[in-house]
Symmetry: C2
């Protein structure tokens, strides 16, 4: 993978760019962050970094379980939300056929279809049952705490349905991914005797894709999960301490974003030029947003930091977003993500040669067209003075994907160190959760209920 940040620099962007001297001046700050990161890693505060190295047995277990189950099931359904849903989706979309669920079984190696149910929309769940044969479906409940309302309520509904429809046989249709000892889900699973896979205790939701959270769904779609881990290990090794940070793509990615944030670029666009990587943007958006969007810094000072991630897809969104990116405010940094080699090639025939706006396309491959459009967009952004950088993967494979996911995770963690915030918590979601509990009259939330009841009423004149 290659990170090209020429178009972040003043040589290309003039006063809108970063001068080398500015980067140099930041050296002490960066070195402090490098040391803090190493310390946190050593102190066991970043156990997700061990995932690529410590799961040989987990991989064996998963592969054996998939082999055992796969011929009996036609659909594998993930019940999860946040990282637990976005990770499995991103990996599946990146590596498998884009119309995977519509292909006959024999064309996808005998693996089941994949569905990810990550909302409590009543229509979505009811309609899902229209296409599932419960007798041939395996549900993967993913919740570390076992108290995620959305996931657990889906589980409660589905467990009851399975019990009613399948009798004693129902247990084979549920597999849980959760903490090894704490929380409701492991208690439920142990009591019922469900198959379980463990999320290591030091691994939080958005950094869990390379744990069984992501590995199990990927393996059920026939993806080489050892390859994913192999790629991630390679990235991790590249980012070990003691190395020059200017040669570390994850650190440089974070440093450049940090400088951009300090200059008021509060938006970070992720724009892959490959349909296969579209959902990587979704996964990245939750990682970047939830990790870096914080009210307090590590010293308890109110900072209200965070950059808002925006998902785009090239070349498609050249026809929806790029007008804004080139002509709009100087408020964002745009990451273009390219691929050297696509899995397929298709050539435009030499027709309509008499029509200038079509004729030039004759004989060109779509591969060349999309890559050229990426270069052209990069050029247009740069001419307009807009900060942009390019990540290029040689090809989308399990290895490069694992490399990429781990790259983003390390970059996010390091951005947290530069911002001096805790990238691993999410205190801001508590307020909404507590309000939900209070509105449902959950015992223990009486004070919050009172607070809600006493909040100023809405003024009808502001409702039209």
């Amino acid at each position: 993978m290659k990170l090209d940040y020429n178009n972040m620099m003043s040589e290309k962007l003039g006063s809108q760019g970063i001068a080398q001297s500015e980067l140099d001046a930041l050296k002490p700050r960066i070195e402090t962050a490098v040391a803090a990161m190493a310390q946190k890693h050593a102190d066991g505060g970043m156990d997700w970094r061990n995932l690529p190295f410590e799961q040989a047995d987990v991989v064996k277990d998963i592969v054996a379980y998939v082999d055992e189950m796969k011929s009996d099931i036609e659909a594998f359904v993930v019940l999860g939300i946040g990282g637990s849903a976005l990770g499995p989706l991103a990996v599946q979309q990146a590596l498998n056929h884009p119309y995977y669920n519509e292909l006959p079984r024999e064309k996808v190696g005998g693996y089941p279809k994949l569905y990810v149910v990550d909302n409590v929309d009543p229509e979505r769940l009811v309609y899902l049952f229209d296409i599932l044969d419960l007798k041939k479906t395996l549900f993967n409940v993913i919740s570390k705490s076992g108290s995620t309302s959305e996931t657990m309520s889906q589980f409660m509904i589905i467990e009851e349905m399975l019990k009613k429809q399948l009798g004693d046989d129902y247990k084979k249709h549920i597999v849980c991914t959760t903490d090894k000892s704490t929380g409701n889900l492991i208690a439920i699973a142990n009591k019922a005797g469900y198959k379980t896979f463990i999320i290591p205790s030091g691994v939080g939701g958005r950094f869990s894709e390379l744990s069984p959270v992501g590995l199990l769904p990927a393996a059920f779609c026939g993806i080489d999960i050892a390859g994913l881990l192999e790629g991630a290990a390679e990235m991790d090794n590249l980012c070990r301490n003691g190395k020059d940070y200017t040669k570390n793509p994850a650190y440089m990615y974070a440093i450049l974003h940090y400088i951009a944030m300090k200059r008021g670029k509060n938006i970070s666009v992720m724009m892959p030029y490959a349909d296969s990587l579209k959902f990587i943007s979704d996964w990245y958006a939750q990682l970047w947003a939830e990790s870096l969007g914080k009210k307090y810094d590590i010293n308890g000072k109110i900072v209200n930091v965070g950059q808002t991630p925006v998902k785009a897809l090239g070349a498609t969104d050249q026809h929806s977003q790029v007008q804004l990116y080139t002509e709009g405010p100087f408020d964002k940094i745009i990451v273009l993500m390219g691929v050297d080699e696509y899995k397929e090639t298709i050539t435009i025939p030499k027709v309509y040669t008499d029509m200038p706006s079509l004729g030039f396309l004759g004989g060109v491959t779509h591969n060349k067209l999309i890559q050229t459009e990426q270069v052209a967009t990069e050029y247009a952004l740069t001419v307009a003075g807009k900060m942009n950088m390019t990540l290029t993967l040689p090809k989308v494979t399990p290895q490069t994907l694992g490399y990429l996911l781990h790259f983003f995770e390390i970059a996010t963690a390091f951005a947290g160190e530069l911002l001096e915030i805790n990238a691993f918590d999410q205190p801001g979601v508590e307020e909404g959760k507590n309000a939900t509990y209070a509105l449902f009259g959950r015992p223990g939330y009486e004070d919050k209920k009172k607070e809600l009841d006493e909040a100023p009423k809405k003024d009808q004149k502001y409702i039209i």
Copy 2:
């Protein structure tokens, strides 16, 4: 539909909110914009506003064509990009079964499956052919100018394939939606004798969803297109001139966003709490971004305005974005979009009553859960001082959807008037297009090629 903007106002947000006096002070500016909008409408500069009223015959043609074709085809494939792709997708996802393409034909009223191909990713197109039977596929090429490289190159590839594989019969498999007289596509269609539907000349891409661009794909999915137009007509009538703008939801939506922009809120989040409305956010994002992201105002002054739209989905993205929205910078306005009545109901069983974080869910419907989470998120955002407003649809139907789409179009146009920019052009995409042409050596682009060749080379030290 209801627009509730209490949480934009100082009564709820304190100094982060808008005072009524601030709204009052803006009255002259608003009245100028109202007059400018009316003038533009009268001068024929907003022909898309006539679409709900002038298409009785178009609807008849479309319905007759669908009736004629539908039994012969299994798949309807849209070849389009930007609004031409996002509109059809948004409408289909809003109104049809979420697993529409996976249902057997008899369960979807005998209508064909819908595919939208909006990129030049070679994998996507090659893999699409794995699941299509060309003999039973109808391709809808949508391009007003007939020179959109992405769409037209797809068309060139597919037309050749059809000719080779189906012989003389191939013509029945292509239907064009384009301008009535100008451009390559109408010339090609007339010569070949393809069935065509017309995009009225005054209607631009992102305002074309209620023209045959959107109506034809919708009708092929069994959607009541007259109902869509009926709803849009109702909204249009509500927004007619001469009425009090404070009673006009589209105008108030634009005014509140305008004030937010002036206060530095450069991000606008669209967060529906319904899976069915998820793709409305995508469609809205292109409308808002491309219309309002402009370098120059109407007087030629450099302004670099535009608000960056962000797509989110409730409750799902409470687990990925809301942490940032509540705790991060005061840089955004969040639009929550709710639904009073979902098409289905599902109830969580009364189980695990001994576990406090699960027990309270027993007997609750997912309908109530998702709606309560929306209220809780609204509360959390407001407590955190973050500007937010709520749009509520009674139910998602063709009528309410037409109403909503037209609402966003009018709001966007009016925001353009307030910003004093041209909301209907997209000069910023030209630079990238021209660079693409130049890189392919298209005649007439020699100067651009020279400019590209002479651009400063990249510095290897910024590539890692």
